[in-house]
Symmetry: C2
Subunit: 248 residues, 2 copies
C-alpha cells in the first residue's frame, strides 16, 4: 500500500473537509456525478482556489477540464477523515445538553456512535435517554475500556469538567469535545476541541456593538471631512454573501 503519501495537512483545510463532505453527499443525493471546484466552492461558501488547494493536499485527482468525481472524492475524504470505521463516543453529563446530544440521531450517519452516557446524579442514573440508559459516572473508566471509546464528550457543569477530562484521559481517551466553559489542563497528546456557545454569542455581540458604534459616530460626525462614513463603512463585508465563521 501507499499509506503515508501526503503529509502536513493544514488545520484550516481539515476543518473544511467535513463541509466538503457534506456538500458532496448532497450532490450525490442529487445524482450529480461530477463537481467542479467552482461548484463545490459555491456550495461550501468558500473560494474555488481554496477548494482546489485543499483537495490537492491529499493528492486526490480531479480531472482537468472536467472536475472531480463526486463518488471518488467522497471516498477519498471519507478515508482521510476516518469515516470508514466507527468511532465510539461517550457522553459525560446527562443534563440538558448531554441528553440532547445523546438523543440526536445525526451522528451515527457519520460513523459516530454514542455508546454510553454517564451522570453523577443518582436520580438520573437508570433513566432512558434516546436508546441508552444513563450509567453512573463511577463506571466511566470501565465503560471506556469496555466499548473501546475513542472520543469523550463533556457536558458537565464547568466545575466538574476537569475531573471528567482526567478520568477520560486516564482511561485512554485522547480526543475530547468539551462543551463546558472551562480550560482543560491535560497532557499534550490529548486533543481538546472546545465548543462554547456563550463565546459565540459574545463574538456576535462584539460585532453588533461595533456596528452600533460605527453608526453612531457616522451620525455624530455627520458630514465633516470626507464622505467616508457611508462609503468606507460597509467595507465590513467584502464578499457577496454573508460573513461566515466556524470552529477553527
Amino acid at each position: 500500500m501507499s499509506p503515508a503519501r501526503r503529509r502536513v495537512i493544514p488545520e484550516a483545510t481539515i476543518a473544511r473537509l467535513p463541509v466538503y463532505h457534506r456538500c458532496l453527499l448532497q450532490m450525490q443525493a442529487e445524482e450529480r456525478s461530477k463537481a467542479s471546484s467552482e461548484q463545490l466552492a459555491e456550495m461550501a461558501g468558500v473560494n474555488a482556489a481554496k477548494v482546489r488547494k485543499d483537495l490537492s493536499y491529499f493528492g486526490s485527482y480531479g480531472t482537468r477540464g472536467v472536475g472531480y468525481g463526486v463518488d471518488h472524492l467522497l471516498v477519498e475524504i471519507r478515508r482521510e477523515l476516518g469515516l470508514t470505521h466507527d468511532w465510539p463516543c461517550v457522553i459525560v453529563g446527562a443534563g440538558n445538553l448531554g441528553s440532547a446530544l445523546a438523543k440526536f440521531a445525526g451522528f451515527s450517519d457519520r460513523g459516530f456512535s454514542v455508546v454510553a452516557v454517564v451522570d453523577i446524579d443518582p436520580a438520573r442514573v437508570g433513566e432512558q435517554v434516546g436508546e441508552l440508559v444513563i450509567q453512573h459516572e463511577e463506571r466511566l473508566a470501565e465503560l471506556v475500556l469496555e466499548h473501546a471509546v475513542v472520543i469523550g464528550i463533556i457536558t458537565t457543569p464547568p466545575a466538574a469538567a476537569q475531573e471528567a477530562a482526567d478520568t477520560l484521559t486516564q482511561a485512554g481517551v485522547r480526543s475530547i469535545l468539551n462543551f463546558a466553559p472551562t480550560v482543560l489542563d491535560l497532557p499534550a497528546d490529548v486533543l481538546v476541541r472546545d465548543v462554547d456557545v456563550a463565546v459565540e454569542l459574545q463574538i456576535l455581540a462584539f460585532h453588533e456593538e461595533r456596528r452600533a458604534a460605527a453608526k453612531a459616530s457616522a451620525t455624530a460626525a455627520a458630514k465633516p471631512a470626507t464622505a467616508k462614513p457611508a462609503a468606507t463603512k460597509p467595507a465590513t463585508g467584502k464578499q457577496v454573501t454573508a460573513k461566515r465563521a466556524t470552529a477553527s
Copy 2:
C-alpha cells in the same frame, strides 16, 4: 468621550476576549485584585505575549511591574464585548437542541436573554420550555420586532435553516448563530457563526486517524534508518499542555 480610540481588532483576538473575561470573573470570585499577563495566560491556556498584545489593542492599561487590575480589566472587556447591555435573542426550532438552549440559565449572566422560542410544529406550540412558551414560527418576524431581537439562533433541521435565516434577516436580525449543518446564503452584512458538532467530531476523528496511521507506519517501519518513530512522533504536541482549539 473618547470612543473610537482603537480600531481593527483582529478576529482571533475577539475570539479570545470571552475567555479572558471568564478567567477574570473567576479571579474576581477568588478576590484576586491584580493579574499578570503570565497568570492570565496560564489560566486561559494561551501564550503570555498574546495576552498582552490582545489587551493592548483596546488600550487598556495594565501597570508595568504589577499587572492588570482585575476589576478594571473586566469593565474594559465587558464594554468592548458589549456585555454592558442586554442582547435579546430568539431561538428558531424548539427540538432537542433548541429546548436545551432555551432551558439553559448560563446565558442571562452574560447579558443574553432568550426572549422567544418558535417552532413550526403545531404540536409543540404552547408547550412550556424553561420560562418561555413556544410560539408558532409564523410569528417569528413579529416577535423579532416586538422584542427588538438582535441575535437569532437557528436550531431547526438543516432543510429549514435557510428559510429561518431569511425570515430573521428580513425582520432585521444581523447576527445569526447557526447550529444546523447548512451553509446559509445571506446578505453580506449579516454575520453568521456556525456551530457544527458533527464537524468537530470529524476533526477529532481525522487526528485519531492520523495517530493510528503514524503508529502503524512506525511499527511497520520498525527500526530502519534513524530512531525517529519514538523520538519524532510525539512532536504532535509542542506545548506542555493539551492542544486546544475553539471556534475561530
